[in-house]
Structures are given as structure tokens and as C-alpha cells.
Symmetry: C2
Amino acid sequence: MDIQLKRGILDVCVLAAIKSKDSYGYRIIKDLKPYIELSESTLYTILKRLETAKMLTVHTVEHDGRLRKYYHITGEGIKRIEDFKEEWKEIMLIYKFVAKEDDTNE
Amino acid sequence: MDIQLKRGILDVCVLAAIKSKDSYGYRIIKDLKPYIELSESTLYTILKRLETAKMLTVHTVEHDGRLRKYYHITGEGIKRIEDFKEEWKEIMLIYKFVAKEDDTNE
DNA sequence: ATAGAATACATCATATCACGAGGTATTGTA
DNA sequence: TACAATACCTCGTGATATGATGTATTCTAT
């Protein structure tokens, strides 16, 4: 998948992955794998960014002697997903323009 | 519109804008305006990139004493659009994941 | 006549961001 | 006893959209 095409959707994917229940880095990557692949370096960059933007909160939990940082979505995070869905309508119009121009030759 | 969301689609928009008939910078911006807004600096950067990638060719034409650089799509340019449409199927699956996670709460 | 908008091109510096490479540490498995 | 899996993190790099800025001509309204 083209890197550029992933931009703008990756943030929202991560938010979507933690929306129904809190999750942690390693698990998020595995959960998203069927849909979109992202490396650990990418994910932790995104998580940090989303935390700074107050779209999620973090709480560390000890699990089997190892530390896990659980991420919890905030109201702003949920709003981000909703805004994204609105913007998606515009994106679909653009896509239709591209697809139409590709089919017809006048 | 979110900048990041435009990445990966802008190139293809420009290609789509010149696909049915050759066009030039200023005209491309006007033609795309109803769908997506891009500045001149952005467009000329993209045009240069697409030319380097051999997805389009350029021929300069004098028009009313002014120079116009007409851009013509190549086979590789057309292939780029087709590849994009294939990648779009993946993007739609990702979008559905995001939208689904946004609707249901289990 | 003349100022300003429109047409038409271009470059440069900047900020954002995905990712590979590399690092630390523990637990499970072959 | 090595290696994979789990689980976290940082840094440098490359790609790229954009504002600011510049050049030059033609059209239009005052």
C-alpha cells in the first residue's frame, strides 16, 4: 500500500482500534493487521501524537511482570473519528472524479 | 480538508485532470477546484514529480503571446490511475473498519 | 491612462509524518 | 540454549503539501 495514501487515515485507524475497549501498542498492531499494516515505530509515533492532541489518555498496567500501557479514547478522539467520516464524503467525491475520468474518454 | 488526507490522491487527481485532454497548470487548478483545492506551488511540484516519473510529458505552446506548458498523460500515467483504483479497494476496507468501530459499541 | 485583477509560470524554506534501524527487557518455546 | 514472541522506545531520513515570494503579460474597471 502506498505510504501517502495511508496518511490521514492511520491516526483514525488507531483511534478506531481503541474505541470499543482500551488497548495497548502491541495489541493494536495485531488488531489492525488484517486491515492495514503499520510498524511499531509508526504506531508509537502516532500514539504519542494522539496523546499530545488529547485524543487519548494512557494508564500503565502491570501484566505478567511486564508493563503495558493501555490507551483510552477521549471525547476529542471520538470527535476526530466523526470529523473524519464527514471529510470522507469529500474524499469520495474526489475519488468519483478520478474514477469517472478514468472510464470515459470524451 | 485535512492535508494528510489529500496526500496520495493529489497526484492521481492531476493525472485524471489531464487524462481526457492535455491541459496546463492554471487550467488544471481551475478544473480541480470543485473537487479539491490546491495551490500553484503544490501543483507545479506535483507536475514536476509526475514528469520525472514519466507519467506525463510536456510541450510548450505560445498562446496570445504567453507561454503555456501543456501536459500530456503517458501510458505509465494511465497505469498509475488504474493502480490507484486497485489500492482504493483496500482503502475502502479500512474505512469500513473505522466506520464500523464508530457505530457499534460492544 | 492607470491601477489592479487575472493569467501563467517558477523556486525555496518549512513543517508534518511514516518508517527502517536500532535499542532494552522479559517470557515462552523448540 | 538459542530464538521467537511480547512489549516498550528513540533517532535519522525521505517524501511532500504549502505559504511566501518572484517574474511577466493581458484584460478590465475607474
